[in-house]
Amino acid sequence: MSQTPGPRPDVLTDPAVESLLQDTTPWLSCEECFERMDTYAEAAVHDPQHLDEAMTAHLRGCSACDEEAQSLIDLLRAS
């Protein structure tokens, strides 16, 4: 790790507070999220009532997995 050229603000914005306090239970790892992502996306497309609590919690707390899951859903919808 190296120093940045300029100081970063040492402030907690509301989005950061909200993300720090996100309830990410029940626990699901990024690896398990990836494993479930295909079935989750198909369920999201075909059955809007489908609920996977652990996936939902993970996607709330992991913006990278969330982007990829939403992208897969969008791709299926476009198919």
């Binding site: 970063r8 040492d10 996100q22 309830d23 295909d38 079935t39 198909e42 990278a64 992208s71």
Partner: protein, 255 residues
């Protein structure tokens, strides 16, 4: 930081990312037994590999197009290279896991996710390739310049409580990871690459951070005991933001 490796030998198969959504409709029934075809030999395998690569190009193109604003060079030529490389690498990853496909989803859906992951990771890597990532163990303070009408003294008060909880209940490592990911906005896979770690390991750290912070804020009266779901700014703070900041229900003061 590594230089961008590019293999443009397959560019002829790459659609412009902007057209990716409209190409190669998947169709309703699964057109083939993909696992058998890909694991077979001869012309059938060659055809399956070619069609799988087209699927990967399509999904990678879709992903890069979604994230094009993050690309340092969003020119069609550069996008083509990214899409092709992501498709190639995703295909390799998929074929290595072909035996794990259990048919719980369509094969095409299962395949798409490999390309989406690879392409998204590559775009984030490119976005940050010339940016320093710093692990900062800093004492944070509430943002003095809140934006938006919904933000209020209670929001500042909650932010102050979170900042104090970060000092009290997190380890220096947990603070550094939390600040990098959630304050400085470093993508989790970029941070993992720089640290020689993994997305999963960093997410686990983040999960522990959140568990500790939530427990501390419940203990200090800033979150209700039974609160489930995403944290929201409280309707009312237990203390005035100008008071000495110890909640009535707190068993521990601030420092």
């Amino acid at each position: 930081m590594t230089a961008v490796r590019r293999d443009s030998s397959r560019d002829a198969e790459a659609p412009p990312a902007s057209q990716a959504d409209s190409r190669a409709p998947v169709g309703d029934p699964e057109p083939r037994d993909w696992v058998s075809a890909l694991g077979g030999t001869g012309p059938e395998q060659s055809t399956a590999l070619r069609e799988l690569h087209a699927l990967m190009i399509r999904a990678a193109g879709h992903q890069v197009w979604r994230m094009r604003a993050a690309l340092p060079d969003p020119s069609p030529g550069a996008v083509d290279v990214i899409v092709n490389q992501a498709a190639d690498e995703a295909m390799t990853a998929l074929l290595g896991k072909l035996h794990t496909f259990q048919g719980r989803s369509r094969f095409t859906t299962w395949a798409f996710k490999f390309a989406i992951l690879q392409a998204a990771t590559e775009v984030r890597r490119l976005q940050w390739q010339h940016r320093e990532v710093e692990l900062r163990d800093v004492e944070l303070r509430p943002s003095p310049a809140h934006e938006g009408p919904e933000l209020s003294a209670e929001g500042i008060d909650l932010a102050g409580a979170v900042a104090r909880a970060m000092s009290r209940v997190l380890t220096p490592y947990q603070r550094r990871i939390a600040v990098a990911l959630l304050v400085d906005g470093v993508p989790i896979d970029v941070l993992a690459e720089r640290l020689g770690s993994s997305r999963g390991a960093l997410y686990k750290t983040l999960h522990e951070v959140r568990t500790r912070l939530r427990a501390e804020l419940v203990a200090t009266g800033y979150l209700p005991v039974s609160q489930a779901g995403p944290a929201r700014l409280p309707q009312a703070s237990p203390i005035s933001p100008t008071d000495h900041e110890v909640s009535p229900t707190s068993s521990a003061g601030t420092r």
